[in-house]
């Protein structure tokens, strides 16, 4: 349940592009055609799914305050969290390189479709942002970190797919000349972000509704018990009367 909740939350509510504006540079630069957008989106999902859990492990066992305690008690007081930027970005850069080599070796066809995008991804803010948000939101387990990585990757994929489709269509409409290209893309993204804000009620709304029936149920139960007591009293009185 936790996993499903985090999964949908990271796709829709905390969408990388529309809620936190991460990965905007490549989002704007590579969204001219749907086919390239799909390639980059798939590569982002892939890299996020690898780097977020990996950085979670780094954060848990090396960087956090007291994380080094597995080395012995002498190391328990170290707090290396100031190194997290450099560690995260180094992991990401190496992982991207590694993923590129592995994919090239084992699946040349996938490499041909993702290959050119992989080096671009090392400097995509969405990837580092995923790891940094994972750290600042204190995601509790490795499984959840993986869910978060995949979920936010899919969210980014959806966003770039949508804008690329819109940009392919907008070529046929008459946009004011000064707005053509970049300007109109910004404004459309803004409107899409407003649309995505409506997903915000998805989880919180559910939570509120969940809480209300609980209190009502509790009230009903209390009242039921009260009623029972009253009934018992009445019964007792009646039996008393009958006895008399």
């Amino acid at each position: 349940m936790e996993h499903i909740e985090l999964f949908f939350k990271s796709i829709f509510i905390d969408n990388m592009v529309f809620a936190t504006f991460l990965g905007m540079c490549s989002y704007l630069a590579v969204s001219k055609k749907v086919s390239t957008a799909v390639g980059l989106g798939a590569a982002v999902i892939f890299v996020l799914a690898v780097t977020v859990p990996l950085n979670w492990l780094l954060d848990q066992y090396i960087l956090q305050e007291g994380a080094l305690s597995w080395l012995g008690e002498d190391y328990a007081q170290y707090d290396l969290s100031f190194l997290s930027f450099i560690m995260f970005i180094a992991t990401i850069a190496t992982m991207v390189q590694l993923v590129e080599i592995i994919v090239e070796k084992f699946s040349p066809s996938l490499y041909n479709s993702l290959g050119i995008f992989l080096p671009l991804i090392a400097v995509n803010c969405a990837i580092l942002g995923g790891s940094l948000f994972m750290q600042s939101r204190e995601i509790p387990s490795l499984g959840l970190a993986l869910t978060y990585g995949v979920g936010s990757g899919i969210g980014w994929f959806l966003a770039i797919l949508a804008i690329a489709a819109i940009r392919e269509k907008i070529r046929y409409s008459s946009v004011p000349p000064a707005l053509r290209g970049l300007g109109i893309t910004f404004i459309i993204t803004g409107l899409m972000a407003i649309g995505f804000m409506s997903f915000g009620g998805m989880l919180t709304g559910g939570d509120e509704k969940k809480e209300e029936p609980k209190t009502e149920e509790a009230k009903v139960e209390v009242q039921k018990e009260l009623n029972k007591e009253e009934d018992a009293k009445i019964v007792a009185e009646n039996t008393n009367l009958n006895n008399n």
Partner: protein
């Protein structure tokens, strides 16, 4: 001898308007949009980027002949990450509240495309002094847009500038609020940052028609 020759002056002036990193080169958008709800945050972010870009450009330019081109991206990332850690620690020490507001976006300066973009496009092929000027010029171009967006969003969204109530007090109904003015809370939400930048691009390209794109 003039300290800045004419050619060098162009390095600083160009990114300011006609080759602005945000509106023309489309670099460094992420941070520009996420933290501009307040003017103060935009200014701090601009200063941080100025520091990282200026210094980073010099460092990369000094090392440009000894970096093997195959691993240059990792080298660049390590240089930026080190500078950003310095910025982050300074912010945490002297402006803790503000560093909380900026949260992960200080860390995201590392992947701010302006920085990598300028390293790749300029610092790898030019001397330290020119790289420094290029870094400062681009950071200032970035700062101009950031501060403009922050200015309008804070003024229209919460009626304040740097925390001062320039339009009067909304609760006690003084100043503009006395005649029925209301804050537009929508300006504080993140989508409006995109639309404000869109409008800035619109105005800029209307003034300078040579910048208009084909499609």
């Amino acid at each position: 001898m003039a300290l800045i020759s004419k050619k060098d002056a162009a390095l600083i002036k160009d990114p300011f308007l006609d080759n602005n990193p945000i509106t023309i080169q489309v670099l460094g958008i992420c941070s520009a949009l996420a933290i501009t709800a307040e003017l103060k945050a935009s200014i701090v972010m601009s200063v941080s980027v100025l520091f990282v870009l200026g210094l980073g450009n010099v460092v990369i330019s000094l090392m440009r002949n000894i970096i093997p081109s195959k691993i240059r991206i990792i080298v660049q990332l390590i240089v930026v990450a080190t500078l950003v850690i310095i910025v982050d620690l300074v912010l945490k020490a002297f402006a803790y509240e503000l560093s909380k507001t900026l949260s992960v976006f200080v860390g995201l300066i590392i992947t701010n495309c302006i920085i990598m973009g300028r390293f790749e496009a300029f610092a790898l092929g030019n001397g330290p002094w020119r790289s420094f000027l290029d870094g400062i010029g681009n950071a200032v171009g970035y700062a101009v847009i950031l501060i403009a967006v922050g200015f309008f969003r804070e003024l229209l969204g919460s009626g304040t500038l740097l925390g001062f109530k320039v339009l009067g007090d909304p609760i006690e109904k003084t100043g503009l609020y006395a005649i029925g003015y209301e804050n537009n809370g929508f300006m504080l939400l993140s989508p409006m940052a995109l639309i404000v930048v869109g409008i800035i691009i619109w105005i800029q390209r209307t003034k300078n028609t040579s910048l208009i794109e084909e499609n």
